[in-house]
């Protein structure tokens, strides 16, 4: 039968054992992860992978067996991702993120951060002036659900009470409040980031809404002579939270900007580069919002002294600013 055996069949018979071995190794790598495999196994994968790739090239040239070529394509693809898609350990990646990646990403967005801050502040000032002149404007800036009774209809006494209300028992109410506030803010931040794609405009609108609500809120309390107390109540978590929201706006702006003005790269490449950088900022923003949620849900209810609230607010802001913008050496790791 020798003359009847095809070259492609002989080719397959000679290499099939290696393919199956690679297949088994890849299946293991995909299920338990590369980190849990023995050293010998790990050393074998790249060798067998390159063998499979060259088999694929040869098979494409000499074999007309669809199943064989499809199998080798699948095998090579899986091998490629195990060999080249290797990632560092989670711990190293986390350390890297906090030590360099996150602050570097925030620093690189300083222009967008300033724009985002300016938009928010402008909206806050406008809302502040409008509400001071005519309290009815309050309803234009504040969602009644979020205001929860803190509106121009309330008496000064009840407004004061909202700033210093103590829940009956500590365990009750607080954890739900913290969770709710955190997810609510995280949602806004993610919208600001994701909508940046639509040429910055929706992100700017979100920043205006957020700043406007802030301005209207403070104006209401200032008009009752509670400005100092309300600012302390707000800023104990607000410095962290508003900073995070401003950063998320900056992240959204950077994507929209890259889409509008991609520079020398193609629009898709520019968007991808900006998107990754912005996502790095956003991962940190979620962490900041979590901190803010804790401060808001627990710290604010437990700490009733205005000056302590201001101290916490100021030190949190100083902490974030120093962490992000303190000059540091860059480029020690690629």
């Amino acid at each position: 039968m020798a003359e009847l055996q095809l070259k492609s069949a002989r080719f397959r018979a000679e290499r099939e054992a290696d393919w199956r071995k690679l297949d088994a190794l890849l299946t293991r790598a995909e299920s338990v992860g590369v980190g849990h495999m023995r050293r010998e196994e790990l050393l074998e994968i790249p060798l067998l992978y390159r063998q499979a790739l060259s088999s694929l090239s040869v098979a494409r040239a000499i074999s007309l067996d669809q199943n064989l070529i499809g199998y080798l394509e699948g095998l090579s693809t899986r091998g490629y991702f195990v060999v080249y898609g290797a990632r560092g350990r989670l711990r190293d990646r986390l350390v890297r993120f906090f030590r360099s990646d996150w602050p570097a990403a925030v620093q690189s967005l300083w222009r967008e951060t300033l724009v985002s801050l300016a938009v928010s502040l402008a909206a806050a000032v406008v809302a502040y002036v409008l509400v001071l002149r005519d309290p009815d404007w309050f309803y234009a800036f504040m969602d009644p659900g979020m205001a929860s009774g803190r509106d121009p209809m309330a008496t000064t006494a009840s407004l004061r009470e909202t700033l210093y209300d103590k829940p009956e028992s500590l365990a009750q109410g607080l954890s739900f409040l913290a969770a709710f506030l955190f997810t609510h803010n995280a949602q806004i931040a993610i919208w600001a980031f994701a909508l940046g794609f639509a040429l910055c405009l929706p992100t700017a609108a979100l920043m205006v809404l957020n700043g406007g609500a802030l301005g209207a809120f403070i104006a209401l309390f200032v008009s009752r002579g509670l400005g100092f107390e309300a600012t302390g109540w707000l800023m104990i978590h607000g410095t962290t939270e508003l900073f995070a929201i401003v950063l998320s706006g900056a992240a959204g702006f950077s994507i929209g900007w890259a889409v509008i003005f991609p520079g020398e790269r193609s629009r898709v490449d520019a968007a991808a580069a900006a998107g990754r950088r912005a996502a790095m900022v956003m991962m940190g923003v979620v962490i900041m919002l979590f901190v803010a949620g804790l401060l808001e849900g627990f710290g604010r209810q437990l700490i009733q002294l205005d000056l302590v609230r201001y101290a916490i607010a100021g030190s949190m802001l100083a902490l974030w600013l120093a962490y992000f913008y303190w000059p540091r050496r860059r480029g020690h790791d690629g």
């Binding site: 790739l53 060259s54 064989l68 991702f81 080249y84 898609g85 739900f176 997810t183 912005a278 991962m283």
Partner: protein, 292 residues
């Protein structure tokens, strides 16, 4: 090339050039829109199921501990679980060794970096955060109600956000906005099993059947592949039909009592041998209309 070329047997997914550092094009298949929507549906169903289980667990735990505040615990679980749980689910699975959520795994998909590099955490975060806009914004608009101006605004919003949801249909690689922002791509990872070599006539029991060169020159590579599909499919009716057609076409005058399957196996092996031989001499005969 004539106009009467047989139509594609099935809609082939888009193949994308993907050259490894070794210089081999893996020719990845891009996941179709339907596959991706299905995968997302499976993932959301899993998440909904997890929420139900979690809710029952909390209720059970509250009943056992006689806690006074089961509703608050439920509230925390719901608020955190419904939004944060979603992110953690997608992030954790797509950062794992298979770079795919269970829904994608079931559909045979995975996420890759479009440039072939490593899929980084920021890329995965970007594509999942973007999903809020692409999937949940249209849903939000569709669910909200309003009359007059509000209704018009909602309709406009629905159209505007619908553009995002349908965005993948308008580019070759079926990338959604999140994929663009992340520089990522969703592809199929075929898990094809290596089956027996059909040209192995000793195993298929089809040795000793000889065809004349003229009988083999009737068909080209595409027909060979169709024949392979039929043989591997194993559908008796199809095998009988194809065998009858080939016998008629090549004017088969050999043993008339040969089983259809054996005949096809023998013909497949002979045809493949012939075509592969011509391949070695640089002649790739695409199909039966190719007379080069």
């Amino acid at each position: 090339m004539t106009a009467e070329v047989a139509p594609e047997p099935r809609a082939e997914p888009v193949r994308r050039e993907f050259v490894t550092p070794e210089g081999v094009d893996l020719g990845l298949k891009v996941a179709t829109y339907a596959e991706r929507v299905t995968a997302l549906g499976i993932d959301l169903a899993i998440l909904a199921g997890a929420m139900i289980v979690l809710t029952l667990l909390v209720i059970a735990a509250a009943a056992v501990a006689r806690s006074a505040a089961p509703m608050e615990m439920l509230g925390v679980v719901w608020v955190i679980g419904s939004s944060l749980g979603r992110y953690i689910y997608f992030l954790a699975f797509e950062l794992g060794p298979r770079a795919a959520t269970p829904g994608k795994r079931i559909m045979g998909l995975r996420v890759i970096a479009a440039d072939g590099g490593r899929l980084t955490a920021d890329a995965v975060f970007a594509r999942n955060a973007m999903r809020e806009v692409e999937v949940f914004l249209p849903i939000l608009f569709a669910l909200s109600q309003g009359q007059g101006i509000d209704g018009v605004m909602i309709a406009l919003g629905l159209i505007w956000s619908g553009v995002f949801a349908l965005f993948p249909l308008f580019n070759r690689d079926r990338r959604r906005l999140g994929d663009l922002a992340a520089g990522a791509l969703v592809v199929k990872v075929p898990r094809l099993k290596l089956q027996v070599d059909l040209a192995d006539v000793e195993r298929t029991g089809a040795q000793g059947v000889v065809f004349a060169p003229a009988q083999l020159d009737v068909y080209g590579i595409r027909e060979l592949h169709v024949l392979e599909d039929v043989l591997r499919g194993g559908d008796r009716k199809a095998i009988a039909e194809v065998a009858a057609r080939i016998r008629a076409k090549i004017g088969w005058d050999g043993a008339a009592d040969m089983a259809d399957r054996t005949f096809l196996n023998a013909y497949y092996a002979a045809l493949r041998g012939r075509l592969e031989n011509r391949l070695l001499f640089g002649q790739r005969r695409r199909d039966k209309f190719d007379v080069s």
